[in-house]
């Protein structure tokens, strides 16, 4: 019952939602991606080539 009541008068205040800035959510998510890359950048850059090459599970192939 509270649910139907809440959705019963949705149009009284039908001022349009503020228009989202173009690509708003996407830009936010790109920011999150950039700060994540900032966070790990140092560890990824350190000896990257040697690190990658040393991951061999089966020797001698």
């Amino acid at each position: 019952m509270p649910q139907t009541h809440a959705s019963g008068q949705p149009y009284e205040d039908d001022a349009p939602e503020p228009a989202p800035t173009p690509g708003g959510a996407k830009a936010e998510s790109t920011d999150a991606l950039d700060s994540l890359l900032d966070e790990i950048d140092d560890s990824l850059q350190t000896n990257a080539e040697q690190f990658v090459r040393s991951f061999v599970q089966k020797g001698g192939q």
Binding site: S29, A32, V52, R53, F55, V56, Q57, K58, G59
Partner: protein, 478 residues
């Protein structure tokens, strides 16, 4: 009953609805010791140190856990975790993710033991499918199907689906060749040699046809799919296993599917893997040429047309169908933004492209290969995927609480519940025991073996009385 024999009082198989299925996932982890003198130890020795505590409590490096899953060291020193029998996708995903945590828990002690042996470094465990030298290892999907006389034809009808599903469920990878680098849907495709076979080491089939149901063999067979990529993303696992299950449901209901038999499966799986545009065509046995997008769309349309009758409409089915469509659309339109938090290859591609543009480097730069390994690193601290989830850049299906629960609790609605109770009780009582997928036995010459042939049966009086006997003071009575 003979002492030590198998109990004869096996309950009759449960009558279960056709759509109820047992799922299981087996994951081989890549094991990488990053240490200045790492060459002083072999991968086998590293695995030995990693599993030291397991051997201490389990007397073996091949054990079943109280959550009813199996943990062991596989050929090639790969730590492997096999989920218990699950009959829902949420249980499966929780158990699979719990496996990552369980295997990771071994790292700290393994590093300490290595340091004591003079090799100070970090152990990385990767949920991926290939090492830097191109050695491949797998993620095996198990689907319990009803036994039928035409199993071979039944299984082979699944191949066109399996060859092309990588455009939505692949893990994505940078493929480096002498002539240049490009992003592919899957690293596993290049390691497949044939469509079906009963061998796995000498040949690399997409479906392993070894008849090993781990269940009542009169009723069931196991569809053992070994062509898939390991998935970091929970939503990718949902689609990978969920879509395959829906196709199997139509096939098991004997609903005719469009005949998309491929002319050359091995050629097709490679062509699809290396074409990110989804526009490359594969040749069908009837001479037609279709794109991977068209093949997947055909299967999805076949599924969607039966949702509401042959396939019960549930929120989970709707979620699978919706993600499946959005994944196909992303490839067709080459706009990946609709799935770049949900499908592994798209999540990873977005990361790689962003990092590449920051570094202003070529695609074969080792720092991008390093990023790829970080993506698959299961460590909650060193791994990248956990941070993607934390920052809302990767979607989830189950909660952290569900994963945590699955670390120590078996799925409640399958045979796994019986095995989980047994393992936990025997460990509590300090009793030696032997256990596999279908047997439980306490050690001791006169103790009988309980045979659990029905993977759908979650309760069993024989197990109840065995556990009751364990609780009694003094020596357990048979």
């Amino acid at each position: 009953m003979l002492p030590g024999g198998i109990s004869a009082d096996v309950p009759p198989p449960l009558d279960v609805p056709a759509e109820r299925r047992i799922f299981g996932l087996e994951t081989e982890f890549g094991l990488h010791l990053d240490a200045p003198n790492a060459r002083a130890v072999t991968p086998e020795e590293v695995a030995g140190h990693l599993f030291h505590s397991v051997v201490q409590w389990g007397r073996s490096s091949n054990v079943f856990l109280p959550n009813a899953s199996r943990l062991y060291i596989d050929v090639g020193a790969h730590p492997e975790y096999a989920t218990a029998e699950c009959d829902t996708l949420t249980d499966l995903i929780a158990s699979d993710k719990a496996g990552e945590r369980i295997v990771h828990d071994l790292v700290e002690q393994g590093e300490r033991r290595l340091a004591d042996a003079g090799v100070a470094g970090q152990i990385h465990l990767y949920k991926n499918n290939v090492d830097s030298a191109g050695n491949s290892y797998g993620c095996h999907e198990n689907y319990l199907v009803r036994r039928r006389a035409d199993f071979r034809a039944f299984a082979s009808a699944l191949l066109p689906f399996l060859v092309t599903r990588q455009i939505v469920t692949g893990a994505g990878t940078v493929t480096r060749t002498p002539t240049g680098s490009h992003f592919s849907f899957s690293s596993r495709a290049d390691h497949m040699w044939e469509g079906m076979s009963s061998a796995t080491t000498r040949s690399r089939p997409m479906i392993n046809t070894r008849d090993e149901p781990h269940a009542n063999a009169e009723l069931y067979r196991r569809m053992h799919v070994i062509v898939g990529d390991s998935s970091m993303s929970e939503t990718t696992t949902l689609l990978k296993v969920g879509a395959t299950d829906l196709i199997l449901r139509l096939m098991e209901a004997r609903i005719p599917l469009p005949d998309l038999t491929l002319a050359k499966e091995m050629q097709a799986i490679r062509a699809v893997a290396h074409d990110l545009t989804g526009a490359a065509t594969v040749e069908l046995a009837d001479g037609r040429r279709l794109t991977a997008v068209e093949v997947q769309q055909t299967y999805l349309d076949a599924v969607r047309s039966r949702v509401g009758d042959a396939i019960e409409r549930t929120p989970e089915v709707e979620r699978i169908v919706d993600l499946w469509q959005r994944g196909i659309d992303a490839v067709r339109t080459q706009d990946f933004s609709g799935v770049d938090t949900e499908l592994d290859w798209a999540i990873k591609l977005r990361l790689l492209e962003r990092y590449q543009s920051r570094l202003d480097c070529t695609l074969d730069d080792p720092r991008l290969a390093r990023l790829e390994l970080a993506y698959h690193d299961i460590s909650p601290t060193r791994g990248l995927f956990h941070r993607l989830v934390r920052d809302g850049l990767a979607a989830t299906v189950v909660t952290e609480a569900q994963i945590d629960h699955a670390r120590s609790h078996a799925p409640a609605t399958t045979r796994a519940a019986l095995r989980g109770r047994f393992v936990a009780a025997a460990l509590d009582a300090g009793q030696d025991f032997t256990v596999d997928w279908v047997h439980l036995k306490l050690a001791g010459g006169s103790k009988r073996t309980i045979l659990l042939k029905d993977p759908f049966r979650a309760t069993d009086e024989r197990v109840d009385s065995l556990l009751a006997a364990l609780d009694e003071p003094g020596p357990a009575v048979d």
